[in-house]
């Protein structure tokens, strides 16, 4: 650090300014030791500071880079020869199934097969490759194998060329159990759905129907049984009767699909639905989520509730009971974010008091002093934003109704060592 300080000093001397070395050392030391700033950033900051102090100009420089990928020659292989990810291959195969894709970024997804095996394939929307058709055979040139949870799939990419073949590629027999060939797929519990592309049957209750703006989707929501809940998508093309929230059904021949480590089931034209008389019990599961509080949403802080139905009032009115004399309450609608998921969480009064340190009485008098309920929210944001918390509660729609919340305390050394070991293995 002393060396850095001396070099800064001599640089300024060249510019005709003499700065006492101890002044430079002091600023550097504070940044590096107390505020953990890397030495070169601290050096830059100290230089900026003294340039400004002495009315001197400064220059900055930055960098960037880009290149194009290389081309390669690709081997022809059979599907059972695909045994590693990241390989470029040519494949002659027949399209066995096309699944409806619920993601805009995916233009086609499904199963292709040859006489040795079947495999999932994905075609991205950003690549302008003509669509393939079910039942037709193609020569797929320059596709990439990809390993995902121990299974392989093929990705079409911008270097891929797809040629339709005149021949009908022979396909390994019984590739898919119960793929709409009259035989119903096996009955499973929702918690056991763990294989992408598998055909299953489930008995479940429609626990939620969600708003849906896609023309290709007729209904979307959650179904549940005693083991868990899962998202379902019913395609318009499936031409199935509408489901009612709260009713239980037998879903025959639906397809499990995995996306970002989450499973859903899709109801397609090979699926069937039977309404059940019984009321299937749906598991309520408690989940834990850890992340930084990145937002305390409006509607948090000091609120008023309808004395009859407990709904939060909007501008003094209940949407059910109109203008009412509300009772005060505290709540926090927080967004916790772990870098992969933004999780909305609702904290009741006791928990809001616990983590904000503001009691309901405090909040009422703060609002009275300021003639503004908003000051409570402001204080809560000040206190909570940017900090790490762990919450436990029940997941309802997109919210966690929080039962307990704890601030994450300091660094877990074991975890840090694990991370370092992990980083060294790459």
């Amino acid at each position: 650090m002393d060396k850095t300080a001396e070099s800064i000093k001599s640089k300024f001397l060249e510019l005709g300014v003499d700065i006492p070395l101890e002044d430079i050392v002091e600023r550097l030391d504070k940044l590096v030791t107390k505020f953990k700033v890397p030495l070169d950033e601290a050096r830059r900051s100290v230089i900026t500071y003294f340039l400004k102090e002495n009315d001197l100009d400064r220059n900055a420089f930055f960098g960037g880079q880009s290149t194009t990928p290389d081309s390669r020659s690709t081997p022809d292989v059979k599907l059972n020869g695909i045994d590693e990810g990241g390989k470029w291959v040519n494949i002659k195969a027949k399209v066995l199934q096309l699944w409806d894709s619920s993601h805009e970024s995916v233009s086609q997804v499904g199963i292709i097969g040859d006489e040795t095996a079947t495999i999932k394939f994905i075609k991205w929307s950003r690549d302008t490759i003509p669509d393939v058709e079910e039942g037709k055979s193609y020569y797929f040139k320059n596709v990439v194998s990809n390993e995902w949870n121990g299974r392989f799939e093929l990705t079409l990419n911008k270097n891929t060329v797809v040629e339709e073949l005149d021949e009908d590629i022979e396909v390994i027999s019984s590739p898919m159990a119960g793929a709409g060939d009259g035989q119903p797929a096996p009955m499973v519990n929702i918690a056991d759905i763990a294989e992408d592309g598998k055909w299953v049957s489930i008995r479940a209750k429609v626990s939620q129907l969600w708003d849906n703006s896609h023309e290709s989707i007729s209904q979307v929501g959650l179904v549940g049984d005693s083991t868990g809940t899962i998202k379902f998508i019913k395609w318009t093309s499936a031409d199935l009767p509408d489901l009612t929230e709260g009713n239980s059904y037998l879903f025959n021949n639906v397809v499990a699909q995995e996306w970002n480590e989450k499973f859903s089931v899709t109801l397609n034209k090979n699926s069937s639905i039977e309404e059940l008389d019984e009321d299937i019990e749906v598991a309520s599961s408690s989940i834990t989520f850890a992340g930084a509080m990145v937002d305390v949403q409006s509607g948090s802080g000091l609120i008023k509730r309808c004395p009859e139905c407990k709904r939060a009032l909007t501008k003094g009115a209940c949407m059910e009971h109109g203008k009412v004399d509300g009772t005060y309450d505290l709540r926090i609608k927080a967004v916790l974010d772990d870098g992969n998921t933004a999780q909305e969480s609702i904290l009741k009064r006791e928990l809001a008091e616990q983590i904000s340190g503001i009691t309901l009485d405090d909040a009422i008098s703060m609002a009275a002093d300021a003639l503004d309920q908003g000051v409570v929210l402001d204080q809560m944001r000040l206190k909570l934003l940017g900090k790490y918390f762990t919450v436990t509660g029940s997941k309802v729609d997109r919210y966690i109704l929080v039962d307990s919340i704890e601030p994450q305390d300091g660094m877990d050394m074991e975890m840090l060592d694990e991370l370092i070991a992990d980083a060294e293995m790459i």
Binding site: K36, E41, N157, A292, V294, D295, G339, A342, G386, A423
Partner: protein, 188 residues
């Protein structure tokens, strides 16, 4: 499909953020969200940063326009807040330097006449935090960055796009993460 989905706040170290220059829109209309794609394939519409505010300056002419520099173990982020980020601008105006700050914000890019792309952050919120939160963020960001580095072998469309554009060097980013983590260990 289930209505509005909030954009996740990605974790990216300053060095990787600075080395990013590829932006794209997800969709065609003017309301489609804009993303910055980083060399390890993070698709960033929002990010969460904790670091040391080491410089701040009001560079506005007519109205206040604050520029701040926030350092992490790998480099620094530039932060700009003006009249459209009133809460953040006020927080920057009131904040002393140096100080540990947590920032939630949107990535922004500026291309100069020579075609060089500069990245910066438009904060939605800035709050003062303690050194523990700063250390948790470094570990958190290290973990997410390592996940992305490992996923560089996948054929996820963002990863493919990032690799094509940046010709991403795995070692460059894994050694960045190692050094950030080691700095954490030395401090403790």
């Amino acid at each position: 499909m289930a209505g509005y989905v909030r954009e996740v706040s990605r974790r990216v170290f300053a060095q990787e953020f600075r080395e990013s220059n590829l932006t794209f829109k997800d969709g065609d209309d003017q309301y489609s969200p804009q993303y910055l794609l980083t060399p390890t394939g993070a698709k960033v519409n929002r990010l969460f940063i904790v670091g040391t505010l080491i410089e701040k300056e009001d560079i506005g002419t007519d109205s206040e326009y604050w520029r701040g520099r926030v350092s992490d173990p790998t480099g620094s982020f530039m932060i700009y807040a003006g009249q459209y980020q009133p809460e953040a601008a006020q927080a920057l105006a009131e904040c002393e330097t140096p100080a540990f700050v947590a920032i939630v914000g949107k990535p922004s890019t500026y291309t100069n006449a020579e075609g060089t792309v500069f990245t910066s952050v438009r904060p939605e919120s800035i709050s003062i935090v303690d050194v523990d939160t700063r250390d948790l963020w470094v570990a958190d960001t290290a973990r997410r960055t390592l996940e992305r580095v490992k996923d560089l072998d996948n054929m996820d469309s963002n990863v493919v796009k990032a690799k094509e554009h940046y010709n991403t060097d795995k070692d460059h980013y894994s050694s960045m993460v190692r050094e950030a983590l080691r700095s954490l260990k030395e401090d403790l």
